[in-house]
Symmetry: D2
Subunit: 327 residues, 4 copies
């Protein structure tokens, strides 16, 4: 398990040199011996050059050039480019870790799945990093081992301090809630069969949103997503079973007693909160590459989450419960 | 505020000498100087005699006799008797604190409201004791003072260790969830306008249940009620607003570190959990009596909660969202 | 247990109409049916009149007059008057609940004990209200039942937001830490045999102070008292035994998530924190009176705590460990 | 910061192939790109071969051979061998990360310091991994930035589930409490000047132990070390300052509600609890090597902790406060 493969490190190319791309490049460089970042591309050449310099890589002027020259690709570019880049990786036979979402709509995600399946190889992993968070992993193990008995209800809360001004009501489902839409079925080993999404009455952005999910096994799931919660980043989950409940505890860190209060200092964003998960995700992906497998969330997982998200957006617009086609 | 009224204590009669009746009788006797339990009635004369002896009261053979002989009445008898007894108190002009539910159905509750209104006097208080819990009171004050900004979402959890074998799926709405159906509108000062109730797929009793409430002001409320949660009694509430959230903390008591765990010792039932609320409720009711007012939840509050509960039962049966008539 | 004694309520006189005297008078009036506040005295006649009016009592011009006219006395006057007033109550054969400290020094406390013992009656109770706090009571029951095995170490923290300007370094031991000096032996059923007190190096007031107590049974106890902790009132206690630990949980109330934090709202002072304990203390004392016993902390308990406090003050001055004479 | 040095990875030799040696070898291999484990030695050749095979290294028959053949050495062999091995590394000019303690006594630690200083180079780092724990690092930053005002009191708790049968009363100071003896001065940037150690009266092993530390700056520190606490591994720390307090929160993970309780699942040992700290420690050490510096705890830090521990052992035997010579 701890064995360093004697062969040369996997040469990785990173497409998209923004905050997430830079973070992934640094994580790979500092913490993943089996990988080396060789090339970086961004439509903004200066960003690519800066990140490349940070990690001892080179920058290249086109995604195609990068894909052809490396062993595997990390896609951290803007969402609308994901599908095209993933398809290009698949066409070139390059393993790819694509940040979520896999595509901006269900059809796009389906095209990536179809293209990958046509190759007969497992090439695509989607960046649902919660599956690598140690506490989520422990929670899943506890649930699947029957520690809480049959899962009956799950409660999820997912809050950001402040959303990017470009956020849309639909995007809250397809870009934020999509984490829960992927990780709840994984947690329970049970697919989502229906979704209802509502939001408090408001002008403008429909935020927060409250979803009720139903699974094939009959479990009910509440999800609150609130992208402008103000006070900080906060992700919670409790699984309520016939024999007890299990839940994530607050992140490890500091608590302070000052001025009439006694409490935790909440992390500001998901990068700090899920740093361990991102590191383990990247290492797990690279280790999978070396064994020729995709261990993490697959393109089909990304497609399934997109299908549920599309149903969620429909529900948000109509107010009605939407049954989710099983794929 | 602390003034002891010089006049003789209010002479109280308790109808129903079971666990709740005994507890109320002892609370009044030990903690409420302004009141004295004079008479106790129960269809089981031995129970009535036992509770009467405990508190220095006398037992009587009929509810009517009791109602005629006292200044005010506490109804803690079985639910199907509430309406008739409340009507008898109203007819006799006796102030009455009636344990919830006010009646077993909406029409019954409406009859009590109508009878009371016909007298032109405020006579009926319903035993929604959460309105007296110090933390709920503080939470309401914080919310109404704008401490969390506009309330957007509320999350409620309400769990019992083990339900009485006689519990029914409808009864979980009308007897357990009814606490939330009363206290959420009170907490937000905002009535419920729609309710959707679902439960995990199961044979037999539909437990737990998950409800989604909508208020006139546009707030969304999730409620989980689980009457066979197994591990203990547990009531939680968080109000999520535009400017932060506020929530009840766990009850004060002991925590232990033993055998791989570190945690709270959960109270077994609502009597222990809400002892302070019951005491304050009884004292507040008696003080209201002395001033000739009903300070606490009124018959109309009991009626409104019954209306929402009836809609909830309908939703539980049909799976559909039910709009709540405003009354 | 809940029985209301049929005889007339105990007529109580309150000496000292400051914050604590007013609070006790209101508590007795609102919550203790078996008692009635009949008379109030204060060297400031206006204060006495104000409190008396609040509770429907009368004010009197001298303590002696009050003591002669009532069934039992509550002493809440300034500390230097406690001994003389307690002795006057004993001389008059009046049961008395004396706020801590029983006297300003050990000799004074000894004189009260001697005077009481000379009467052959149990007359004096000292206001160590923590013994009535529900969580302390539950902790003691757990410890004495062997739930954590043999108690090995106890950790106590006792913090005030801001001390009165008149506080002295010695007074921190004899007026604040005295709560722990009384309640630890009660908690463990094991007397204190040695004390060492130290404080961080500072100009002026020696605050906070850290004490190490040793008990006859060989348990070690750390105590931090910090009377200017700034952020609020905070009392904590953990008993560490051979088979696990048990500790007080934070007081029940509200928690808020706002501006980067997630935590409890800390109570500002001991009146709010120990309101239940004060109420139960007063009721327990009155019920004891009616049975002719002193159920709570006795004059000898007050004397023992004073002895330990005197040793603590000596240790604070010398820096050395001081053995506590067993009395 | 994230830059991968282009030169070949540092070739590391691990001496001592027990649990800690195996863990360090695997950590280096899996998570530290800049390092490679080249050789492993253990007096038990089979253990060395097993760990070597796990990480793609070779095993060698003598420590001397290993030291001569690698770029840098990790010492995880039994405590009595640390001094001799560290001296051998220093003599060979090899950077070395030596697990605590640096030597079994003060004189041994002094010899290592002297030998290193004679070379004029920084070669020795001691394995006080808490300095790398993210929450300890954040706590130190908060304290040194003045967030709690002047530090007045620190409370430390350090508990193991079950100690190795070979543990001794002195060893609890010199092997367990030594973590606090190193990390408190680091946390406060303030050396320890006196120590008093006591333990509950008991036959046999003196466990738990309670220490009172004093710093040059006048801060008081309580430390409880309990190596047979039974329920799990538990490390806590609170710094109490003039303007508030800051404390470590419980490790991130799962909490469960089952059978009357609601709480955290406590980690069983320090390997799980401090996994992140060990990883960061090893990476930080290797990065220091590449820059030719010792960034972490030095031999002198190890020596200072040994001096305080020796004073602590003396205090444990005599019961008296022992002043710590400043070195």
């Amino acid at each position: 398990m701890g064995e360093r493969v004697s062969s040369a490190p996997v040469r990785i190319g990173v497409i998209g040199a923004g905050a997430m791309g830079g973070s992934h490049a640094r994580m790979l460089t500092r913490w993943v011996p089996a990988a080396g970042v060789a090339l970086v591309h961004d439509f903004d050449a200066a960003s690519a050059a800066r990140v490349a310099a940070e990690v001892g890589a080179e920058s290249v002027g086109s995604a195609k050039e990068l894909i052809d020259a490396v062993d595997a690709v990390v896609i951290t570019s803007p969402d609308p480019t994901h599908e095209e880049l993933a398809l290009a990786c698949v066409a070139a036979g390059r393993p790819v870790l694509c940040e979520k979402p896999l595509a901006v709509d269900v059809d796009g995600a389906a095209r990536v799945v179809a293209a990958e399946e046509a190759t007969g190889r497992a090439l695509v992993q989607v960046g649902f990093m919660r599956r690598y968070d140690p506490a989520y992993v422990a929670m899943r193990a506890a649930v699947l081992a029957g520690r809480v008995g049959r899962p009956l209800v799950v409660h999820c809360v997912h809050r950001n301090a402040v959303a990017h001004p470009s956020v849309t009501s639909d995007g809250i489902v397809s870009n934020s809630m999509i984490h829960e839409l992927d990780c709840v079925p994984w947690l329970l080993d049970d697919p989502i069969t229906a979704i209802t999404v509502a939001s408090p009455r408001a002008e403008g952005l429909r935020d927060p949103q409250v979803a009720l999910l139903e699974t094939a096994g009959g479990t009910l799931v509440t999800v609150e997503v609130f992208v402008n919660a103000g006070y900080g980043y906060d992700v919670r989950c409790e699984v309520v079973g016939a024999a007890g409940t299990v839940r994530l505890t607050p992140p490890y860190g500091l608590a302070a007693r000052t001025e009439g209060g006694d409490g935790l200092l909440v992390s500001a964003d998901f990068v700090a909160r899920f740093a361990d998960a991102y590191r383990t995700e990247l290492a797990g992906w690279v280790e999978g590459l070396q064994r020729g497998v995709v261990d993490g969330p697959t393109a089909r997982d990304g497609y399934r989450a997109a299908v549920v998200a599309a149903c969620g957006v429909e529900s948000l617009h109509t107010g009605a419960r939407v049954e989710v086609p099983q794929t």
